[in-house]
């Protein structure tokens, strides 16, 4: 997996986004044990302190929890994960709608185009 990190935004925020994605997409299942800070930092080629900060943020978001002796785990609260998934999906859709409107498409045209493409994709 490649970690694409931009250089003008704080790294820890980008890590949070990437890890959120990993969790909602199912790379890490609910209840899975999360890799150690060191392993994640090495994989992402970032400073362990920065990765630590990102993981702390994910705990605040209640996507991860720490069990004192056994380490970090993905939350088992499936509803929570679904909520985050929906939030991220909505963000993408908002972006999508913005872009479509910039192209000058109306609401109906957008929906119709979506139907067509969805049909194409399932063939």
């Amino acid at each position: 997996m490649t970690w694409e990190l931009k250089s003008d935004r704080p790294i820890y925020l980008q890590l949070v986004e990437q890890l959120e994605l990993d969790i909602v997409s199912g790379r890490y299942q609910p209840g899975d044990k999360f890799p150690s800070v060191r392993d994640l930092a090495t994989e992402a080629a970032v400073n362990p302190n920065t990765m630590q900060k990102a993981l702390a943020e994910l705990e605040d978001l209640e996507l991860l929890y720490t069990q004192r002796t056994s380490g970090r785990f993905v939350t088992e609260d499936v509803e929570k994960i679904r909520q985050v998934k929906e939030k991220l999906a909505r963000q993408q859709l908002e972006l999508f709608f913005d872009n479509m409107r910039k192209l000058g498409l109306s609401q109906e045209e957008i929906v119709s185009l979506l139907h067509t493409i969805t049909k194409e994709k399932s063939e």
Binding site: P10, T42, A44, V46, N47, N49
Partner: protein, 232 residues
């Protein structure tokens, strides 16, 4: 807790130049710090002073509260820019040498890293290419369980794959108790590994900040900020 490295009005004069003109710096444990500046800015001088290879003209430099000396040398691991290993030894003998003089040297770790890089411990240093010697040096330095690592241009003149390996080694050797100071002018490559950066120019500290602060407050990368600050 003492900061692991502290400079108080540190001044260093040479017959022909003023290398450091009053440096004040305080580095805490558990940080990876970039010491960034153009050539001749005083980076190497500062690092040599921390190693006790130079003595201050004025002011103080303290390692964990002590002036550089035998006690500080035990807890400082230094990777100089040049190769400093003698020619006649084999890699395994060099490892034995380090193990002999440094209590906190982990020879098992050293051998593991050698294997991973396909370096034969029985090879004589004399027969190795410059690049391989540099890797051996890095391995020796990183196999020490030190409190302060001073790496002077660790990735300059090294191929991209080796560069990745070096950064990987730096990250995986990180410890909360230790601090790493990386002096370099190849900033874009190591930016995401740094906690803090210190910009130095003409013997003075011009900026000292965390990487996140710079990215958040200024919306720039460290590399971008560096180019701005040190515009020719």
């Amino acid at each position: 807790m003492n900061p692991i490295l502290e400079c108080r009005e540190l001044v260093k004069h040479f017959p022909a130049s003023i290398a450091l003109a009053g440096v004040n710096l305080s580095l805490n444990r558990g940080r990876i710090v970039g010491l960034l500046g153009p050539n001749g800015s005083g980076k190497s001088t500062l690092i040599k002073l921390a190693n006790g290879l130079l003595t201050p003209t004025m002011g103080k430099i303290l390692i964990d509260g002590n002036a550089p000396g035998i006690e500080s040398k035990k807890i400082v691991s230094y990777l100089p820019e040049r190769t400093y290993l003698n020619d006649w030894m084999r890699v395994s003998e060099m490892i034995a040498f380090f193990k002999d003089f440094y209590e906190n040297f982990d020879d098992k770790k050293a051998y593991e890293m050698l294997t991973r890089l396909n370096i034969n411990p029985k090879d004589k240093l004399k027969t190795m290419s410059k690049g391989t010697k540099e890797k051996v040096q890095l391995i020796l330095v990183m196999s020490r369980q030190a409190d302060l690592y001073l790496l002077d241009e660790p990735i300059g003149g090294v191929d991209p794959a080796a560069r990745d390996y070096i950064l990987n080694t730096i990250i995986s050797n990180y410890s909360e108790n230790a601090t790493m100071v990386i002096s370099t002018h190849l900033i874009a490559d190591i930016e995401q590994v740094l906690d803090d950066v210190v910009f130095i120019s003409q013997g003075q500290i011009v900026l000292s900040s965390s990487v996140d602060e710079i990215r958040e407050k200024q919306g720039k990368s460290i590399d971008g900020l560096f180019r701005e600050v040190f515009k020719c």
